[in-house]
Every structure is written in C-alpha cells, then in structure tokens.
C-alpha cells in the first residue's frame, strides 16, 4: 500500500513539475539555436532566439560546472537585455571559444513590473570537435586508381 501511495505521489510530483516547466515557457519565444537537447561541436556558438511579439527579454547562458546529478550553473553571460517593438525579431549573440560541457540557455520574458513572467530554456551539450582526416574522407584506393589511370592516359594518350 505504501509503495502504491509513494508511486502516486512521485507521479503527481513529476506531472506538477512538468506542467510547471511548460507553463513557465513563453509560447512567443523560441530558442532556435542551439536547439534544446542537441549536441553541437562548435567552438563559436551562435545564440539565436525568435521573438514573435513586442517584448523585452533577458538572455543568459550558463555552463554546468558540477555533475549531472548535482549541477552547478555558472554564467557565461547573464541577463543580456533585448527589447523589440516588432512582432517578429531575433535576439542573436555570438559566444567564442565555447569549451566542451553542458550548457543551458535561459530566456526571461520581462513583464511590465520589471520581473520575469516567463522563462524559456534550452539545454545543449558541446563536444570537442574531431579534426577532419584526409585519409578517412577520401578513399585512398579510389584516388590511387584514378591517379594511375591519369598517369597511363598521359603516357599513352586518351
């Protein structure tokens, strides 16, 4: 019986948390880049937020310096304010030399009283980029065969 009650309580808490999270997200704000739950390999990060109404937003980028179980969010930049008087606009910002790790972008929609009325998030993972390997990209056998063919053509004519 206790187990059942505990399960119901846990399920209720999860539902409440989820609904809270969705309620907090502004339907007029979309974090387009980097998209939520994606892995990127970029060192130069483009932050692009689509804003589909007249609004003031504050954008922050955090890096998780803790662990997945116990995250510690350290600001890369915080509360970058942007106001638009248009029904469609984009907040953009470049962040250079982004090291590998887990990041969170937070966009606060600021209400008339100056406080955040909505908060929209995007969580991304940045990974080290593997360098392009010439041998792996080009099939060396194909290249050698073509080269040999080209050599024979140049000797004997086409």
């Amino acid at each position: 019986m206790r187990k059942i009650v505990a399960l119901i309580v846990m399920a209720a808490m999860l539902l409440v948390n989820t609904s809270f999270a969705f309620a907090a997200a502004d339907p007029y704000i979309t974090i387009v880049n980097p998209a939520n739950e994606t892995t990127i390999t970029s060192g130069n990060l483009l932050v692009s937020v689509k804003i589909s109404k007249k609004a003031t937003v504050k954008v922050s980028l955090y890096k998780n310096t803790g662990t997945d179980a116990a995250p510690a969010w350290q600001a890369v930049f915080a509360n970058d304010s942007f106001t638009t008087k248009s029904n469609l606009s984009f907040y953009t910002r470049k962040v250079e030399n982004v090291s590998s790790g887990k990041y969170r972008i937070k966009v606060d929609t600021i209400g008339s009283n100056g406080t955040a009325v909505y908060s929209t998030y995007s969580n991304v993972t940045v990974k080290e980029k593997a360098g392009a390997d010439e041998k792996a990209v080009f099939n060396s056998n194909t290249g050698a065969a073509t080269f040999l063919q080209s050599l024979l053509q140049s000797i004997f004519g086409s």
């Binding site: 469609l88 984009f90 953009t92 980029k129 073509t146 050599l151 053509q153």
Partner: protein, 493 residues
C-alpha cells in the same frame, strides 16, 4: 652606252621624285574625294576593332577582373569571415602562394590529376580551417584555367562553371572545386600549400565580423546556407554622386558620340528630343546611340550574319577593346572608376554570343544603381552589338565615416519580409502563394541567395549605405538602409 655616275644620280633622283609625287597624289585624292581629315586619320574606327590594344581609357585585363567575388575563411569551429580580394593575399602573390598560384601549379603538373568527389567529402574536408574563393558570376572552370595558366587540360572540360575554389588545411596537397551543376572535384597539387594554411589561420583569427548560415538563425525547418553576419559595425555613410554627363551639354555629348561613329560621324543623323534625350542614328538604324538625360549612353548595332562566333574569352577581349575605345572606366570628366564583374552569360543570343555586366566599387564596397548597371556589353559573332554605360563620379573619402552598429541583417529580414514577399508577388517571382504570415516568412527566407552591404543610389543621386538582399536566384535585389533597416528600393534583374 654607259651612263656617268652623275647621270645615274639624276635618274635615281627623278625616280624618287616621281614616287613621292605619286604617293602625294593618292593621299590628296583621298583627302578631297573621301573628305578625310588629319584628325580622322589619328582617330580610329570602332567597327574595325576586334582585338589588340588601343590608345583609349583604362580597362583592367581579364586576369584582373575574372577573380573571386569574395573569400570565406573558417577555422572550422563555426562561422565564416568574408574578405574582399583587395584586402587579402589569397589569390595571387609574388611568392606564388595564393590559390590561383596553386591552381596554376596543379594545371602544370604532369600528369594532371582531377577526380570527382561527393558533396559529403567536400563538406567534411572543408569543415576545418579552410578558405573558399566564391564566384558570383558564371565562369567556366576551363576558362578560369586558361586565365590562370594559359591553357586548360582536356580533363577540366567535364567541370561546369565554377562556384567555389577551395583549400583546406586538412588536405594541403589538394584544391577543391564546386561547380554550378552541383558536382565536386579534387585537384592534386605538386606541393603542399603550407604557406596558405598559415595565412588563412591568421585571417580566421582576425576581428572581421562572423557570418553564420541563415538556417542557423531560423531553426531546423529552414535549409538555406546563405551567410548572414551576426553583427556589423560599419563605416559606410551616405554621399552625393554626379551623373556622367549633363544631357544639356551638347558639346560633351557630341564628343562622346564621335567615339562611336568616328569615321562616319558626318553621315549620322542627330535627333534632339524634347525630353532632353539625344539619339544618333547611322543608316537605317544599323547603328544607334542614345545619350539619355540620366547620364547613360546606350549603343546598339546590327550583327553581320557572315561573321563567326568567338569564344567567351575572345569575346571579352573584344568587349574590353571597345570599352577602352569609349574612354575606359572613366567618366566624361575624367574620374577613374573601379569596375568588377557583376554577371556574365554564355551564349546569351543562341549564337554563341557573350554578355558581360560590370558593376562599380567604392573602396571595397559595391556601388549599385537601383535601375541600371555600370556597363553592359554584348558581343555577338565577334562584334559588339550592345553597349550601355551608366557612370557616376563621386568623392570616395566622403563615403566613409565613423563606425556605427548596423541593424542586424536577420532583423532587417524579420522587419521587412512582408515587403519582400509583396515585391516578389508583384513581379511574379513566386511559384505559389503563401498561406499565412509564417509561410510568407519561410518563403522569403528560402528565396534569399545573398546578403551583403554596400551603397545604392537612385534618381536623387544620393548613394546610401544599404543592406543588399538578393532573392530568387539573383532575379531580385532589395535594398534597406544599413543602420535603420528601412526599405529603400528594389531592382528586378
């Protein structure tokens, strides 16, 4: 009977006198009979010019004009930096380390090696520290090879018009080509381009603004790799331009017209219209020149049927000679201008003719007119059949001010997408209508093929600093003020 030396001398002198008198008689006959003046002899006939140098104005050679429109350098960690050919040593260097130098070395290698590669291979090898030389106009790769090394190996005939010539530090022994048929090629170099690698590394770390593909700003649904700067601090400011000539100044216009009809100007009919336009006509309209009130000169000539067509590069030589004969790229008042190739067309007339369109630059930025191009010239069957020039003079120093933050290009589009959509609809540049605002925005962003900035002037003769948004595969250019993002004008090409 033998003549004495004295008699011999007298006979020879007589012979010389007779020859001189005969030549003088022929020349005098020409002067009086054909009504030729000494000035006419000094000048030259446009029609007789097919190639070679003439003592006219300045016009750069093909090698100086058929160059990349820009260089895109990336360090592979996201974003590109764009450079004008005049500001970097990526193409030709004295040390032979530029991309054209490497291409020349590759073409002169025996055996020459070129292989087709896949798009995936091309994208992967360039997704690191690399440089792309981008060509905005049509130039067959074989023609580029001829310009670079004097000849084109038979193997390059398979390659179409070049869109990108690329070099990657991940494959320093190769050059890569993307053509207009969507095919990709790899050329082997005789030596590794180590110097170019270190040079582009320096460029990749410069302070130039970063460009990202437009789909990075817009999200997953967009698929458009047109580069857009994330932010821009620009020194461009508005300035006055003066049209090439004043249509009321008959003397200047006649002087310009004589260059077109030099040997037969006396037989040219001149019609002065009430609007201020002057029309010069030779014969029954075989040759027409129009000097318009907006300072443009337009020349048309019927092509002879008996002439053979010439190659694209030969046609360019003919066009260049013609332009030089018309005073080159200098205004009627003598101001030298800086041309670039805006577009080209092979076989524009179905008879192997070539069309060249030139634009003007102010410093490293394009100076556009919202209704015409600086020079349009068509060569058909080895003759110039159409020529139009629209020049302006200006003070280049007045075009540069203090750096200011431009309105973000992506927000210029967001602010004005309805305007662009309506222009595209009015000019029948859309395949289908959009259902709703989101669809309109998507259609516009899908149609964008280039975003750049420069100067644009119209009838008011004020060159304004502007965002230049090119849509519909170059069929439409829409101009917005650089700092406020306000609509200025547009041009359907």
């Amino acid at each position: 009977m033998e003549r004495t030396p004295r008699e011999n001398l007298i006979e020879k002198t007589k012979t010389v006198i007779i020859v001189v008198l005969s030549v003088c008689m022929v020349l005098l006959l020409c002067f009086f009979w054909l009504n030729i003046s000494l000035k006419d002899i000094k000048s030259f006939s446009i029609d007789s010019l097919t190639s070679g140098e003439v003592d006219g104005g300045n016009m750069p050679e093909a090698k100086a004009l058929f160059v990349p429109s820009r260089f895109a350098v990336t360090d592979g960690t996201g974003g590109d930096r764009l450079f004008d050919i005049g500001s970097v040593a990526c193409w030709r260097t004295e040390a032979g380390t530029g991309m054209a130098d490497l291409l020349e070395a590759s073409l002169n290698t025996k055996p020459f090696f070129v292989e087709e590669i896949t798009k995936e291979q091309y994208d992967k090898i360039l997704d690191t520290l690399s440089v792309k030389a981008v060509f905005d106009y049509k130039l067959r790769f074989a023609d580029l090879c001829t310009l670079v090394s004097g000849n084109a190996p038979a193997e390059v005939e398979q390659v179409g018009a070049i869109e990108e010539l690329s070099f990657s530090t991940a494959s320093e022994g190769s050059l890569f080509v993307k053509d207009d048929r969507g095919k990709y090629y790899r050329l082997l170099l005789p030596e590794r381009g180590g110097y170019l690698s270190s040079y582009i590394e320096t460029l990749s770390q410069s302070e130039k603004e970063l460009y990202f593909p437009i789909d990075s700003y817009l999200g997953e649904t967009a698929v458009n790799k047109t580069l857009v700067p994330i932010e821009l601090y620009a020194e461009l400011q508005d300035f006055k331009v003066n049209r090439d000539f004043d249509a009321k100044n008959r003397e200047t216009i006649d002087g310009l017209a004589k260059r077109f009809f030099s040997e037969s100007f006396d037989f040219v009919r001149k019609i002065e219209e009430e609007s201020g336009r002057t029309v010069y006509m030779y014969g029954y309209g075989q040759r027409i020149l129009i000097a318009d009130v907006d300072g443009t000169l337009e020349y048309k000539k019927e092509a002879s049927d008996d002439s053979a067509s010439v190659s694209f590069l030969e046609a360019f030589k003919i066009a260049r000679t013609f332009i030089k004969a018309q005073g080159g790229v200098a205004t009627a008042s003598g101001d030298e201008l800086q041309p670039y190739i805006k577009s080209t067309e092979y076989n524009f007339d179905g008879n192997g003719g070539s069309r060249f369109v030139f634009g003007l630059k102010c410093g490293e930025y394009r100076l556009l007119n919202d209704s015409s191009d600086a020079i349009v010239i068509e060569v058909s069957k080895g003759q110039v059949t159409y020529f139009k020039r629209s020049f302006v003079s200006f003070d280049e120093k007045s075009a540069v001010g203090h750096p200011l933050e431009a309105m973000a290009a992506i927000n210029v589009i967001a602010k004005n997408y309805k305007e662009i959509y309506n222009i595209m609809t009015e000019n029948v540049l859309l395949k289908e209508d959009a259902a709703g605002e989101d669809a309109e925005f998507e259609i516009v962003t899908d149609a964008i093929t280039e975003i750049s900035y420069g100067y644009v002037y119209g009838d008011d003769n004020v060159a304004r600093s502007a965002w230049i948004i090119t849509c519909a595969n170059g069929g439409l250019e829409v101009y917005f003020s650089l700092y406020e993002g306000e609509f200025l004008s547009y041009r359907v090409q």
